[in-house]
Assembly symmetry: none
Homo-oligomer: 231 residues x 2
DNA sequence: CCCTTTTGTCACAAAAATGTAATCGCTGTG
DNA sequence: CACAGCGATTACATTTTTGTGACAAAAGGG
């Protein structure tokens, strides 16, 4: 007797909730839908889901925060999580994977794509997203392993510097203003002075300098910063 | 030396038009307001806006249709569009984003939210991928990367020299007076002596001379300067 | 609850860019 | 040939922008 796999959807927007329950039911899943983290808390103990579809923005606790909590508790650590985010921000994606989310989808998404990703994650295979290792000139950034290395030596980077490097290495040869970097790496709605970017650029340069790779992080006066292999 | 960003508002309801011009002017934007797509057509060629705020429902052509037209024309493709829609319909939003609108706001909206979204979209700049590199006779100007090169060697230019070269290379074979250049490169409302142009022309020539390309920046006695490949 | 790491801000140093003014040099003219 | 008109060149003071180190608050991990 085949038992349908149970998916918990945590999503506050009613319209999307409707759409998701439609789509997933038709795809053969058993679904539970809640609108907030506190509601999810109650349910999860009672009926353990096989997968959680978690919105990034939620009324009470942020989805990111809840993901962190779930992954810290041995009881729930094994439940795969797919984050649903409105933005395509690099930083958010990395943050999501950082706390242990297994994959993410970006709104608006097609139902076909969503179902495909869910099935992949349930199968415990590698996510179809970018779990791969980016490698350029002896420099490697491993998103899943959350590590960066140069010539097989692990770089000692703080989380923000890692996201910065990852963003740069995936967006080379292009200048980004400080506010663009804040959007991309810190996330859309933060209030931080722009000069904070300078400081993190410096810290990244410092780390790269130990392997003489700091010339790739370039200052463009009056505009911002650029990552490029061309000196 | 900051130049206000220009926003074109296409909106037929007079009340909303009032409100928008109030809000946006106070937020420091330069705004142009029209009530229909046909009016917008005339204006857009004359004074290119940095962003278009486009109502969904309009008397002549629908906003959606106009967005599609704008995004199809290479001349206007780069201008970001924010759709203004009365409905919170998921379907509409998706349609808007599908034709290439960069964001949408739902009526009624708070002025604070609108300004925030406008700023975010303006900051985002052109999407990565469509690298608009202008190339003439071994000379390349990469606006996104903010870099100029001759025969694969990077030119060392200051910000103003870069803007000057970029302007010249996109407006060749035509003489510009010093005051025209001040308008175009420094921005409309500055008070700088015209002789400053001479100095920057010199600095640009100096940079080009290292690769023997300085003959393209030509002096037209009594009139101004010209950029031309013809010697 | 304590300790460590990470973060953002600030103040100051350093560097680069910018506009001006003085001077030099070329060109055509009377 | 002297002169006026205009652009080129140079040096320099000022302003703008970025780099750097220290520090305190906040977050994370035991």
């Amino acid at each position: 007797m085949y038992m349908a796999e149970r998916i918990l959807v945590v999503e506050d927007e009613a319209a999307i909730r409707e759409m998701l329950s439609m789509t997933l039911t038709r795809a053969g899943f058993e679904i539970m839908v809640v609108g907030s983290v506190s509601q999810a808390r109650g349910l999860i103990m009672d009926r353990r889901p096989n997968l959680i579809l978690l919105d990034w923005m939620l009324p009470d606790t942020s989805g990111l925060e809840y993901a962190r909590i779930l992954k810290k508790d041995a009881m729930t650590r094994e439940i795969p999580i797919i984050m649903v985010t409105a933005r395509g921000d690099e930083g958010d994606r990395v943050k999501g994977l950082e706390v242990g989310a297994d994959d993410y989808v970006i709104k608006p998404f097609s139902s076909k794509e969503l179902v495909a990703r869910i099935k992949t994650v349930l199968r415990r295979g590698a996510p179809p997203g970018d779990n791969h290792i980016i490698q350029v000139d002896g420099m490697r950034v491993d998103l899943a392993g959350h590590r960066a290395m140069i010539n097989n030596t692990i770089l000692d980077l703080g989380p923000t510097e890692f996201r910065l490097l990852h963003f740069f290495i995936t967006h080379p040869d292009r200048v980004y203003s400080r506010s663009q970097l804040l959007d991309q790496i810190w996330g859309g709605s933060i209030c931080i002075g722009e000069r904070a970017v300078d400081v993190h650029i410096r810290r990244l340069r410092q780390a790269l300098a130990t392997h003489n790779h700091d010339q790739y992080v370039q200052t463009v006066r009056g505009t911002g910063y650029r990552f490029s292999m061309l000196v």
